[in-house]
């Protein structure tokens, strides 16, 4: 096979997969009323995807905030502008690091769990059993997990940002001696509503993307041990790349 043919084949596969994801998404929208009528299914998934991710999100957020505190202090002190540390840390976290790192952590913890869970349900015929029982597995399995992720990611991002700012405050104010009042007042002065909205928009888009990839990969996984393993890996890889690409696109669009 020539390189041109191989490239064409890869391109066709990619377009076909994009089509499959789109059809899957439309299928989920059609099954949405089923899940909306059963809020307990969705809240259970918010617990699985969101509450169970809290420890890793808060730990990571605090350390990321502390690193921003250190690096920010170093950079601002060269300009003799240490008081701007609060504003710098908040803007970095709210606009960029918060949504991006939360989405990446979500893909690693909750996304992989979703893919593996749904993939194993496929491999053990649980999805087939539901179909035969005249119960739509899209409504019962896919949509609640998707909604659980979509709801969780923005909330986790908000928690990541809050803890991250505390991390930066701890290093900047408590360890490096930045003035406490200046830290918070400069943040209040320079952080605008638009910055917060940008972060919220990103976290919602990343939540949709990460949850869609995780649920789709699990639902379409080859029903074997190897197939589920590969699908889980694809979830992390695709989500990570997708989040970074979407991040650039949203940033370019909003600036």
């Amino acid at each position: 096979m020539t390189k041109a043919n191989l490239l064409l084949r890869r391109l066709t596969q990619a377009i076909r997969k994009l089509g499959a994801v789109t059809l899957f998404f439309v299928g989920m929208l059609q099954a949405l009323p089923y899940a909306v009528r059963r809020p307990a299914l969705v809240s259970r998934q918010v617990h699985n995807a969101g509450v169970l991710s809290l420890v890793i999100i808060m730990t990571s957020g605090f350390f990321v905030g502390m690193v921003i505190g250190l690096q920010g202090y170093d950079a601002f002190s060269r300009l003799r502008q240490e008081d701007l540390l609060g504003a710098g840390a908040a803007l970095t976290l709210l606009k960029e690091l918060g949504p991006v790192v939360t989405a990446l952590l979500f893909a690693g913890r909750a996304g992989t769990a979703l893919t593996a869970e749904i993939g194993l349900m496929r491999a053990t015929d649980q999805i087939s059993a539901m179909e035969v029982m005249a119960i739509d597995p899209m409504g019962r399995i896919a949509v609640p997990r998707f909604l659980g992720g979509v709801i969780s990611v923005p909330l986790l991002t908000a928690i990541f940002n809050s803890v991250g700012i505390l991390g930066a405050w701890f290093v900047g104010v408590q360890l490096m001696g930045v003035d406490n009042g200046a830290f918070w007042s400069q943040m209040q002065e320079y952080v605008e509503t638009g910055d917060v909205n940008e972060g919220i928009l990103k976290s919602v888009v990343f939540g949709v993307a990460a949850s869609l990839v995780a649920v789709f990969e699990g639902y379409t996984a080859e029903p074997t041990a190897e197939g589920v393993g590969l699908a889980t890996t694809r979830t992390v890889v695709i989500t990570s790349v997708l989040v970074l690409i979407l991040d650039y696109m949203i940033t370019a669009f909003l600036l």
Binding site: M121, V132, A134
Partner: protein
């Protein structure tokens, strides 16, 4: 049920063709399942017996031909009609397919809660009745991971029959079971049929077991039906293939060996990789 309905076959598979991944599974498959009977579908592994069940449930569509269940052409049904038809079916999966995050009780209650508005007290009694029938009332609160293979199969059977379906499909119900569990499942299939009048389709290659309960048998091989009749008729069949299958002879028309190059030549070709 009128006489005309009673006489109409429950399942009619007419000249079905089906292929997947470039491999032809069915090439002119036709069979009929009579109402209220136990019909066995037998055949060597890989002949598409499970595929046939998935066509009856509408999970797979044939390339051509018709699959009629109670007079309705399954591939031509709308999603709504298909779901309505499936509510009248139950299926026992080879690996039980119990929902792993639900207890035994909740697994059996699951289709009832989804399809009816019965009060919980009634659902409880219904589930306990079915569990009693399969001898597992005491295991109601166990999780699927705590069950043995035989227990799991019996729970799945209770779930399949909880809505009192007209048609029960059994996919390899005896595989991997110890003799006691096998005897229990065998008896339950027979009781379901005799007492409740359920039409049963049993896909299996456990010839001895299935012959004890089947009213009629089909032997499937090479994408089509190669023999049909009562178990006794099949045992007396002229076909070497059917006789080999019914007697379980290791070699015959279905060879023991997968196609391979000459054994002696292969052994003598030292150093040649054969992977």
């Amino acid at each position: 049920m009128t006489d005309a309905q009673a006489d109409r076959p429950m399942i009619e598979v007419e000249d079905v063709r089906f292929s997947t991944a470039g491999r032809v599974i069915f090439d002119g498959m036709s069979l009929t399942v009579l109402r209220g009977r136990i019909t066995a579908i037998m055949g060597p592994s890989g002949t598409g017996k499970t595929t046939l069940l998935r066509m009856i449930t509408g999970q797979l569509r044939p390339v051509s031909g018709r699959v009629l269940v109670d007079g309705q052409n399954v591939p031509g049904l709308s999603r709504h009609e298909l779901f309505a038809l499936r509510r009248r079916m139950g299926m026992l999966f080879q690996n039980s397919a119990l929902l792993t995050d639900y207890s035994v009780f909740d697994n059996i209650a699951f289709p009832v809660r989804e399809h009816t508005r019965l009060p919980e007290t009634l659902i409880r009694n219904l589930v306990l009745t079915k569990l009693q029938a399969v001898g597992l009332r005491g295991a109601a609160q166990l999780m699927p991971t705590q069950l043995s293979g035989g227990m799991g199969r019996r729970v799945a059977l209770a779930r399949a029959m909880v809505l009192d379906p007209d048609l029960l499909l059994y996919d390899e119900p005896f595989s991997g079971l110890d003799p006691i569990s096998m005897g229990m499942v065998l008896r339950l299939i027979k009781v379901n049929n005799d007492v409740l009048g359920v039409t049963s389709v049993v896909v299996s290659h456990d010839v001895e077991e299935i012959n004890q309960i089947a009213d009629y048998c089909y032997v499937v091989s090479g994408g089509r039906v190669i023999g049909a009749g009562t178990p006794d008729e099949l045992k007396r069949s002229d076909s070497e293939l059917i006789r080999q299958f019914m007697s379980g002879a290791p070699d015959g028309p279905v060879p023991f060996h997968y196609p391979a190059p000459d054994y002696r030549q292969q052994l003598l070709n030292e150093g040649q990789r054969h992977d």
